[in-house]
């Protein structure tokens, strides 16, 4: 069987695996995003108790390997229900929330405090100032760092293969063992991951320039450089 024929034969199976990879990534991203924002706000603006809890969580998660976290969750959840996929979702979400929290916190804290104070002087409560002034700017600013998280996560979902979730890497591994064509299978898988990350990066880049604040940021630096030359 030629390389091409082999490829055509295994691609539907790989795509099924890839769809699991994508759904793991998407769920972990979204759940991690929601909790990441809450953690970031808690760490940046909470009282000492809230801040302490958020810091403890973030550091505990960032300081332990994701694989170990997935194992702990997988073996800690008792269940007659099909746990592997959801254990992976939970593990990746928890992990991602800690990393996303740090990206967001960095961005929130880079907004000059003067803007927040200005919000307070026109009568906004602290919460209103955070919501209307810090969040809209901080989230925009976090996009470049956040796009790293998307790419990491897409690739790290391959760890789910260890608890037998049929995502792309596991499916590939099975095919490779069956057919003994390791090199080709893993090359194809690598290409699939690569194409996916390139597409995602491009989507995020477009989104970033779409929501860019006029006059601020990279675009301006680019134009002024052009003017120099």
């Amino acid at each position: 069987m030629s390389m091409w024929e082999f490829f055509v034969e295994i691609i539907p199976e790989l795509m099924r695996g890839f769809s699991v990879t994508l759904s793991l990534t998407a769920l972990a991203l979204v759940i991690g995003f929601i909790f990441g924002i809450m953690l970031a706000l808690g760490r940046a603006y909470g009282n000492w108790i809230v801040r302490g809890v958020c810091i403890g969580y973030i550091e505990a998660i960032r300081g332990t390997p994701m694989l170990v976290q997935v194992f702990i969750i997988y073996f800690a959840i008792p269940g007659p229900w099909p746990p592997a996929y959801w254990a992976a979702v939970l593990g990746f979400s928890i992990n991602s929330s800690a990393y996303q929290a740090e990206y967001f916190r960095g961005a929130f804290q880079s907004i000059e405090s003067g803007q927040m104070i200005a919000g307070r002087t026109i009568g906004m409560t602290r919460l209103q100032a955070i919501r209307n002034i810090v969040l809209p700017q901080g989230l925009r600013m976090a996009i470049p760092a956040w796009s790293n998280e998307v790419i990491y996560l897409l690739k790290y979902t391959s760890l789910a293969y260890i608890i037998l979730v049929p995502e792309l890497t596991r499916v590939g591994r099975l095919i490779a063992t069956e057919t003994a064509r390791y090199m080709e299978v893993f090359l194809i898988i690598a290409i699939i991951y690569l194409v996916a990350t390139i597409i995602m990066t491009d989507i995020i880049d477009r989104f970033e320039s779409k929501v860019r604040i006029p006059g601020l940021g990279a675009q301006e630096a680019e134009t002024s450089q052009r003017n120099v030359w």
Partner: protein
């Protein structure tokens, strides 16, 4: 009618006693200028007035209400105290128009379209109708500061506090901001921290000289500039004159 009354304000940051019993009052439509060497508590005083920095001791009364009272909702009264910053502090993600209308929408709960119209009015008042859709990063320093003034005015304040509104500006941009401030004088009660002696002498009803956390001397511009009582005041004025040029009118 007294709009603002500040009684015996004390404020310390750790060991550093910044304000040691400052009192002043501001009548409706009056403009008072606060001067004094840097680090002398002028900005702290303004921040104590709107409780951004709550004073350790003393009272602030706004139009008959004691806002230093712990039981008042300070967010409600802060709307009535316009604040203009040295570094503008505009909201970078919003257009000039939105910078002005956001307080109307989110704080006063005014409907979007009406907030927009009122914000446009305020921008017109500071001469920036044509910049409504520009973002802060696209405006000059003087324009930014005028948006800052419009943002404060939109809340319909009883008092406006200006914290060195022109000291971060290039010299050629100072005039446009002072023009706007002059146009407000008489209409709105203003307390202005500034080194612009030309502005002080032509607009202020009273000049207050603050040093080391106490009021050294106060008086009408004429008295203050021509015949101050205290030697320290004379000394300070002569220094300012060397630095900023004579009390020339900009």
């Amino acid at each position: 009618m007294t709009m603002l009354e500040v009684k015996n304000i004390h404020k310390a940051f750790g060991e550093l006693q910044v304000l040691r019993g400052v009192s002043l009052d501001l009548d409706k439509g009056e403009t008072k200028v606060l001067i004094g060497p840097s680090g002398t508590g002028k900005s702290t005083l303004l921040r104590c007035i709107n409780q951004l920095t709550p004073p350790d001791k003393g009272e602030v009364w706004l139009d008959g209400v004691e806002i230093t009272d712990k039981s008042v909702d300070i967010n409600k009264y802060r709307q009535e105290i316009g604040f203009v910053f040295q570094h503008f502090n505009l909201f970078n993600h919003l257009t000039a128009l939105k910078n002005v209308s956001i307080g109307l929408e989110k704080v006063k709960g005014i409907e979007k379209e009406e907030a927009r119209e009122r914000a446009l009015e305020e921008l017109k008042r500071v001469g920036l109708s044509d910049k409504a859709n520009q973002y802060p990063a696209e405006l000059s320093g003087g324009q930014k500061q005028r948006v800052g003034i419009a943002r404060a005015l939109a809340m319909d304040p009883k008092v406006m506090l200006f914290d060195e509104p022109t000291s971060a500006l290039d010299p050629e941009l100072i005039g446009e901001v002072l023009e706007v401030m002059k146009s407000l004088a008489g209409e709105i009660s203003m307390l202005v921290v500034t080194h612009e002696m030309g502005f002080a002498s032509s607009v202020a009803n009273e000049i207050i000289f603050l040093e080391n956390g106490v009021v050294v001397e106060k008086g009408s511009p004429k008295k203050f500039f021509e015949n101050p009582d205290k030697d320290r005041t004379k000394q300070f004025l002569s220094k300012i004159a060397t630095l900023y040029g004579d009390s020339g009118d900009r």
